[in-house]
């Protein structure tokens, strides 16, 4: 049973187009979802082309508005610069301590692979995996805290999967959640192309999910990779 998910997103919009449907599906079944946004995406994720000005406050309130549609429990903005994203060790430990305090059953972040179109994603995956390792380990960086039981880490699909050497490991049928996902994307104005792309990718993933994947009636799906082995079910996870 998944009761809590921690999401680590490089830019605040990433988690919505990569996993908005899946997160909404979980949140509807009562699962808490805590998002950590490493940057505000002011450089690579601001609709400069369509609006003259997008302040930090505006951007954050757009993300909060989209998140509330998806029933996201909390969004923590760490406010690092993006393009390029760099986080010092104390920042990584801060993320580890949030993971530790939240005590999630799943961690969701960028896929642990190359991403040439947006190297920040690659960096974010590395940071999230490092932070998770710290949270899982027994050493005393996080004072007086029990270690977090190691949990599976799943990765978002990158924009160019083949170039990134990325292979989908899990397909999630998001057909009933698709409308809400697309609605959430409209709360981030200026991303018309991204919105079309998200829709196409969900259709594309449904080709496999409803075909060889055998999920009848799946019209929209999201795909994820795993970066840690899954052990504790005691069976093949299917």
């Amino acid at each position: 049973m998944v009761n809590k998910i921690v999401v680590v997103t490089a830019h605040p919009g990433d988690f919505i187009w990569s996993s908005g449907g899946t997160l909404y599906k979980y949140s509807q079944s009562g699962c808490e979802i805590h998002v950590i946004a490493l940057t505000d995406g002011l450089r690579c994720e601001s609709p400069i082309k369509t609006t003259d000005h997008c302040s930090l406050e505006e951007k954050r309130s757009q993300i909060e508005s989209a998140s509330s549609l998806l029933n996201i429990t909390s969004v923590t903005f760490l406010g690092y610069d993006d393009m390029p994203l760099a986080i010092e060790n104390s920042g990584i430990i801060k993320i580890a301590s949030i993971m530790n305090e939240t005590n999630p059953d799943i961690i969701l972040t960028h896929a642990y692979c190359r991403d040439d179109t947006n190297p920040d994603h690659e960096t974010a995956a590395e940071i999230a995996n490092k932070a998770a390792e710290i949270a899982f380990s027994n050493h005393k960086i996080l004072k007086n805290k029990m270690r977090l039981h190691p949990v599976p880490i799943f990765g978002f699909e990158p924009d160019n999967p083949e170039n990134s050497g990325w292979i989908p490991g899990t397909f999630i049928d998001i057909t009933p959640c698709m409308d809400m996902k697309m609605e959430a994307i409209t709360r981030l104005p200026g991303f018309a192309d991204r919105s079309a792309r998200t829709h196409e990718q969900a259709l594309n993933r449904a080709i496999y999910c409803s075909g060889r994947g055998g999920v009848n009636g799946c019209k929209y799906a999201e795909a994820f990779s795993g970066s840690t082995p899954i052990c504790n079910h005691g069976y093949f996870v299917w």
Binding site: D159, E162, I167, P168, E200, N204, I207, R212
Partner: protein
């Protein structure tokens, strides 16, 4: 541009889904495109047909051959050679490989477009063809190999089709071809297969939109992706 192109398709629908737009745009540029199809896809790629009542091999063969010919006509392909080899699994023996090499020599082919040579877990016929065609190209350009009275030709470039499930097949989209201008022709060609492979039409329109996005070409709405199997100095598609 007057390049001579050979498209080698395992089953009778492959050349349309995977390269229909590229074929149409080459034809538009004045190139001659030749088509070689090995199988009618009776066993592996006629799922829609086998669901219909009274389905039988004879009708399937007639239907599928007609589809291939009609689609090739819509795309503007110059010569069409459709074989009825058994598919799933396809076998390509020495005689068949020499037949391909002869064809490449006969038409003095510059570019071959065919299935990717990397392992397609879902379709072994495609993997076999990708590897075999590259061999046939090497044979066609070998000066020490006699094939009837046809002399050797310069080594053609070989480009690989996008497989149905690219990430699982180690496919690398090395070249994107903008097919926005000819998308209506491709759609029309795909529509020919409505009886036998209806489920392929929408997915392949979706895929071409995604490839257009990834190509980052301005004003490109639809694109097809290919891998480079062999690049023979004419690094263009």
């Amino acid at each position: 541009m007057n390049k001579r192109i050979l498209v080698v398709s395992g089953h009778v629908g492959d050349f349309v889904w995977r390269s229909g737009g590229t074929i149409a745009s080459y034809v538009k540029m004045g190139c001659e495109v030749h088509l070689l199809v090995f199988t009618l896809g009776i066993r592996g790629e006629s799922n829609g047909y086998w669901k219909s009542e009274g389905a039988n091999y004879e009708e399937a063969r007639r239907l599928r051959r007609r589809e291939g010919e009609e689609a090739a006509k819509i795309l503007g392909i110059k010569t069409v050679e459709i074989h009825d080899f058994v598919d799933y699994p396809l076998e390509l023996d020495r005689a068949r490989i020499e037949m391909i090499a002869k064809k490449i020599r006969k038409y003095k082919i510059d570019i071959v477009i065919t299935h990717d040579h990397k392992t397609d877990l879902f379709n072994a016929d495609h993997t076999l063809i990708g590897n075999t065609i590259n061999m046939a190209c090497a044979m066609a350009s070998s000066s020490s190999l006699a094939l009837g009275n046809l002399g050797p030709i310069p080594r053609p470039s070989v480009y690989g089709f996008e497989p149905h499930n690219p990430e699982f097949c180690d496919f690398s989209p090395d070249v994107f071809v903008d097919i926005t201008e000819v998308i209506d022709i491709k759609k029309q060609a795909m529509q020919v297969y409505a009886k036998t492979q209806k489920n392929m039409i929408e997915p392949y329109i979706t895929k071409s939109k995604i490839r257009a996005f990834q190509s980052q070409m301005a004003r490109c709405e639809y694109a097809e992706a290919f891998s480079i199997i062999y690049s023979a100095n004419n690094f263009q598609l």
